[in-house]
């Protein structure tokens, strides 16, 4: 038996937030992308309710352009932990004519996810969506509350946020409103990696260095395959790369890396001079890309 528990303050805060979500809302859901942040969330949720099961389902909004390794990992995790998984597909939203597929050089399904997500929220009447966003990721995220209230259209009113005092969370809302809850708001990318290492959490293989067919554009490394638009002159190369963030293939750039273990990865992040979002093609679209997406209901 362990003698005295000295808490890891960030972990303890996250568990506190996750328990608040379970207690304050009727139909919470955990938005699961298969990336390291949502995997960390799952571990924290396990800790929050152990020995009981996690009392809410996972929702994956699948763009259809995910890395197959991520999907395989997702299914294995859900199976092993006995979790409930809901999958909703961007392809269906396209087929129903609700959104139009982008074309050309920078086409991506990333922003189409919003419609599929909002439809799923309505379908299941979810009143709280737990997300793995961190404030260190991006300058608009740095401004967001832990409980972020969205209106019927999923919109974020950035100039009118509820003050959040001490650790008291106000999740009271009217029917039709929805709260996005961010338990790891105060974690940095390094915190997440160090946590994955200490806790020995399994993550998809694409986070480690591997050989991949890629091509270079705008100083970034893009995955070469049928989902990613590539011009004829953009030459396919085979390189040792890994991903620092895992999203849709069309908006996630790789980095050159030799890091094959968690130890290597943590070391690499510690010394890195490029931010995680520097590898997000979707953020490069404009200086205010994230804020604009959030305003229309993005995660």
């Amino acid at each position: 038996m362990n003698n005295l528990l000295i808490p890891n303050p960030k972990e303890a805060e996250s568990i506190h937030i996750i328990r608040e979500v379970a207690a304050q809302f009727e139909r919470p859901v955990l938005l699961f992308s298969g990336g390291k942040d949502s995997i960390t969330l799952v571990r924290l949720a396990q800790k929050a309710f152990y020995p009981a099961r996690i009392p809410f389902p996972l929702l994956h909004v699948d763009t259809g352009h995910n890395f197959p390794e991520t999907i395989a990992f997702r299914d294995k995790l859900v199976e092993e932990l006995g979790l409930e998984l809901i999958v909703r597909n961007v392809q269906d939203s396209i087929d129903q004519g609700k959104v139009r597929e982008e074309r050309g050089r920078y086409s991506s399904r990333n922003s189409l996810q919003t419609t599929t997500l909002l439809d799923a929220i309505e379908e299941f009447k979810f009143d709280a969506c737990i997300g793995g966003a961190r404030r260190d990721e991006e300058k608009a995220r740095a401004k967001e509350r832990v409980f972020s209230v969205r209106d019927d259209f999923g919109q974020w009113d950035e100039k009118n946020q509820r003050p959040e005092l001490f650790d008291m969370l106000n999740g009271k809302i009217h029917v039709g409103q929805n709260v996005r809850c961010f338990p790891i708001s105060n974690w940095t990318e390094l915190d997440v990696w160090e946590y994955i290492k200490t806790e020995n959490i399994e993550i998809p293989s694409i986070y480690f260095a591997h050989e991949r067919e890629v091509f270079l554009r705008d100083g970034m490394i893009w995955t070469a395959n049928e989902h990613v638009f590539r011009e004829d002159h953009e030459e396919v190369l085979v390189k040792m790369v890994r991903f620092r963030t895992v999203g849709d293939m069309t908006c996630t750039a790789a980095v050159f890396s030799e890091a094959v273990s968690l130890e290597d990865v943590v070391g690499e992040i510690r010394d890195s001079s490029i931010s995680e979002r520097g590898a997000r093609i979707d953020d490069k679209r404009s200086e205010a890309a994230m804020e604009k997406r959030k305003k229309v209901g993005y995660f």
């Binding site: 362990n2 152990y50 950035e158 008291m168």
Partner: protein, 418 residues
């Protein structure tokens, strides 16, 4: 998770344009916490605006509206670390209209950096933010006298402002050793991470060094154990058939297996049978732990109730007096009804009397029939059910609450129990 590094939470404060965001941007830059892509973005934006210097405030002013106007509207949370310390910084707005966001940012901080523009000296917003730091009982205040480059790094200017500020300190609850003065230029990086050669007359630490040597032990409060029940864990599986764990965060002091505890509101007593942290059973937990507790006896205990050591039971009352800070444009009025959230517990509350509005320049009080946005006042409440509280002075978590208004469910006030 960086277990060997200490964690210090800081908030900036001070009037509009005193240079808070610039200072934080500078700290990030000088500690090499800004990645090259972020520095490039700042260089691009600064150039676009026609500046011949790097506008470091762009590192934290992340909203479009903020960048357009060159002001901070809402708190930005910024993270950086040095070899010894992890820092969480809440960069708060200086504009009077957004004082509520300053209160929000400062509420979780142990240290406040109050900036003063050397050309302007101590002004109304300086009083107000220092008053709020005092109200929040922030452990340590650094007064950064900024823009020294614009007053020829003149020691006289620094000394005059320090003397003016010392008058405020004398009227506050702070002791002198809780306050430090540092002359800086955020823009030029003087005395931020680098000792300034322009101000040889200043022999103290740089801001960064000063923050690093603060001991978090001195910054954390310790009082008696309070365990508000957040969520009852009932697995109802074969292996854990009879398990009933009361989960929550522990505040103020340790709890251990075998402790005699009193349950509120029932006033029943019991003994702690086990303490769980995930799949581990532990003997004792320190404050700040998120744990689950089981008891020796079958008891009635649910969310919002509280478990405490029988040797130190808090007050349980249906009436209370608190200092209120109004954080919403809807005013607080006598007779008004609110949802009062005390930690994770909610009851209904009615405003019995507004005793006074408090001048935030430490000059006393006046009578008032309502508290408007950013007003601070002393208020008496009547509650639908008793809550189990300490004074804010004794225990921050168990001595504070928020008021939620019943229309939009906005958080309209924060209260500090007396």
């Amino acid at each position: 998770m960086s277990e060997n590094r200490k964690l210090i939470k800081i908030a900036t404060a001070g009037s509009v344009d005193d240079g808070k965001s610039t200072l934080i941007g500078r700290l990030l830059y000088d500690t090499k916490s800004l990645t090259t892509d972020k520095i490039e973005a700042i260089e691009r934006s600064s150039k676009q605006r026609g500046y011949d210097y790097l506008d470091f405030s762009l590192a934290t002013d992340g909203l479009v509206a903020e960048r357009e106007q060159g002001i901070t509207i809402d708190v930005a949370h910024i993270y950086f670390n040095t070899d010894k310390t992890n820092f969480i910084v809440a960069d708060t707005p200086g504009h009077v209209e957004y004082t509520r966001n300053m209160v929000t940012g400062a509420s979780t901080s142990q240290v406040a950096i109050i900036l003063i523009d050397a050309r302007k000296g101590v002004i109304e917003q300086t009083y107000r933010h220092f008053f709020i730091a005092n109200l929040l009982r922030i452990s340590h205040v650094v007064v950064a006298i900024n823009k020294m480059d614009l007053v020829d790094y003149d020691e006289e200017v620094y000394l005059k402002i320090k003397a003016d500020f010392d008058v405020l300190v004398a009227k506050s609850d702070f002791t002198e050793d809780q306050i430090n003065f540092i002359p800086v230029s955020a823009l030029k990086g003087e005395n931020i991470a680098r000792q300034s050669e322009e101000m040889p007359w200043y022999v103290g630490n740089t801001l960064l060094h000063h923050l690093e040597v603060l001991e978090p032990a001195d910054l954390q409060e310790s009082s008696v154990a309070r365990f508000p029940v957040q969520y009852v864990i009932r697995p109802k599986t074969e292996a854990w058939h009879d398990f009933r764990g009361f989960s929550g965060m522990l505040y103020g002091g340790n709890l251990k297996v075998g402790d005699e505890v009193t349950l509120l509101p029932s006033m029943n007593t019991s003994t702690i049978k086990s303490i769980h942290y995930f799949d581990q059973e532990i003997q004792e937990a320190a404050p700040g732990s998120s744990i689950a507790i089981t008891l020796d006896t079958e008891v009635d205990l649910s969310r919002g109730d509280m478990l405490v050591k029988s040797s130190s039971v808090p007050r349980s009352e249906k009436q209370l007096t608190a200092t209120i800070c109004q954080v919403n444009s809807k005013p607080l009025k006598v007779g008004g009804k609110y949802i009062l959230q005390h930690g994770v517990n909610r009851v209904l509350a009615k405003v019995d009397q507004i005793e006074s509005r408090i001048h935030t320049d430490f000059t006393g009080t006046e009578t008032a029939d309502q508290l408007k946005l950013n007003d601070i006042g002393r208020v008496h409440f009547r509650l639908s059910k008793p809550i189990h509280f300490d004074t804010y002075k004794e225990n921050k978590a168990n001595g504070s609450f928020i008021l939620i208004e019943e229309g939009e469910y906005d958080t309209v006030s924060v209260g500090f129990i007396e």
